[in-house]
Symmetry: C2
Subunit: 435 residues, 2 copies
Amino acid sequence: MPVRLDVRDAGFAAGFEALLHAKREASEDVQTLVAGVIDQVRTRGDDALIDYTARWDRLTLTADTLRIGRDEIDAATAKCSAETLEALDLAAARIEEFHRRQIPEVTDYRDAAGVRLGARWTPVGAVGLYVPGGTASYPSSVLMNALPAKVAGVERVVMVVPTPDGAINPLVLAAAKRCGIDEIYRIGGAQAVAALAHGTATIRPVDKIVGPGNAFVAAAKRQVYGLVGIDSIAGPSEILVVADGQNDPAWIAMDLLSQAEHDTSAQSILITDDAAFADAVAAAVDKHLETLPRTAIAGESWREHGAIVLVGDLLADAPALVDRLAPEHLELAVEDPDALAARIRNAGAIFLGRYTPEAIGDYVAGPNHVLPTARSARFSSGLNVLDFMKRTTFVACDAQSLQAIGPAAVTLAMAEGLEAHARSVAQRLPGYNGL
Amino acid sequence: MPVRLDVRDAGFAAGFEALLHAKREASEDVQTLVAGVIDQVRTRGDDALIDYTARWDRLTLTADTLRIGRDEIDAATAKCSAETLEALDLAAARIEEFHRRQIPEVTDYRDAAGVRLGARWTPVGAVGLYVPGGTASYPSSVLMNALPAKVAGVERVVMVVPTPDGAINPLVLAAAKRCGIDEIYRIGGAQAVAALAHGTATIRPVDKIVGPGNAFVAAAKRQVYGLVGIDSIAGPSEILVVADGQNDPAWIAMDLLSQAEHDTSAQSILITDDAAFADAVAAAVDKHLETLPRTAIAGESWREHGAIVLVGDLLADAPALVDRLAPEHLELAVEDPDALAARIRNAGAIFLGRYTPEAIGDYVAGPNHVLPTARSARFSSGLNVLDFMKRTTFVACDAQSLQAIGPAAVTLAMAEGLEAHARSVAQRLPGYNGL
């Protein structure tokens, strides 16, 4: 059964603390294995990729067939239904539109001292996108990872996707095509990450690697970090629904299950001020579980990690709890969701009102569905255009403005014992004759 | 002697590649030791802090004296000269002014489908700032790390600084005071990072930890990453000067040395189109080294890691080399620096023209001096206000707009085999009677 807590109970603080810090994922120690794979790819290049793919994906490749050809991408797209391709296109267009509004502007101004100052943003040169194979091969994730990079102006977006036994989800290739990606390699695992980071004879290295993956992929990303940039390592999905008693319990129950069905480690939490409604939601969850195809996964997630938290007053009590949970997805199914949202600091994405189920954001709303998990919304943001750009500041002094601000720099440099710093500025000031 | 390369030589490509990938830092393996320290602080709290500080900083503390009192901060400030405090104040005011322009705006709009969409930024709740002790205890770094957090609106900024044998640089405390920081603990090393991340009876935990440190501090930051956010791990300083023959060689030589004096692992590189000028700069470096107090450090850095690269034409040849080096600091000492800057993609900060020595940016220009090193300017940015904020997206549909975009979400969810996602949306559409 999911945990049930009431803010008015004596044991609440301890129970909530336990909920906050419960481990949901076993961390596999794959460091050593992954380090070996990276080393092999670094030294043996394509040959290592071919060997690992034969061993783990049961697929025989050559340097010439590592890449998925344009004809293959077109053929896969032709296999998808018109309805699905239209839905994909609507999703892509909406994601592009939302993300385009995030392109930052140049700052360039001259201040009172006459110093010209500013900052500009430029796209990362080349980005690698990891797409998992098998059941977690989601076309929607291709859109969510690739489109912000494209909107940012990244010139080269490369995709890697394992094709165990040669199988690939055609809609994944269709999604790549919709994003304008035509450099795709049929490799996965730590070896694919290593190839993107170090390059091989066939695959040129990239500057940054993004996209979800299993424990091997995550470990490989951590190990190549520094040589290339990486996105944050995503944990199991989470949803926190704050709902009053005026909702249809069946709706809220399905919203909770929509994240629970991802993974047995996923977490769904309901905060409500209505005990009878809480009971009704719990009953509706059990009822939905009878008919959902992924009932085994969703059921285990709900029983092991689910929680229902009762509070006295939503507006007064919920925000502090939400901020401590810092959920990936926050659904506010209340009459005035804006009033509640205004009091909340920590959440990856907020879904406002009774007609905004979280799942709409997974596909077509427009904002990104790659969001901070495991309470990291306290300090980090969902994937966005700025993740594919970097900021360069600039300064320009002339003789006069350097004279205005330079002496203070000389003073501070000398106070820090850095005389070359001091002289580098002082030598450009009038009357310099050594320090 | 520094490496000398000419773009027109046969061996250039190989030589430049070697320059790019030369290791400058020995990586100490301190993982296990640091893991033990973190574990002790997590389980024994203040007692562990007190024990480690006695052992490594030769300082006896109690839970009551861990924190540096306001009186002590005031007394330290009173010890600083008026000239230094004024310089500090000018620097702080300029850093604040530059960073204030970066505060992002809320996005909030309704699109053609009637969906309300947007994103808002909120400050991180609590930030810990690590300040090294001893010789690398730089007041300017206190300003550069703390002020963006304050500008972002972070409510609680905590500082930790080791005070070996009880000694502390008074100007560091004066800088903290100028930044409005009054929660300061006299602890350092991995134990201080652990205390910030996990909290102790005396020190409440923070959400993000920033600031430079030695190998132990860096390893501790990596290990607590996930539980809290961290900034990027900074490597040794770098400067790349692109200069034509019209500069004073003594000026450019001192600019190169201003970074070389930081650390024997620092790297200073000159790109020029004038061989005679290159010779003159090399001679001026040697001359300056005769009189600089930190000549041993700067000289070793220049000899071991310095480089002079000759090119045929600066505007045509330099940008590609700069982008591959992706320097932390880029000085463009040429007649038309803007034309050159426009062709460059990768640099942490750019210093434009003959009167903008890089050192002005270390102290008073305004932009941050915490910048990406080791070629990471290819994919990352200098410290800025957004590092202390996080972005929450939001979506609001009503019954009608959900009807407009919902069916596409249902289609995609079903294509991905996620039926609870599909039903979560579909149940809110008119005429829903199961999928």
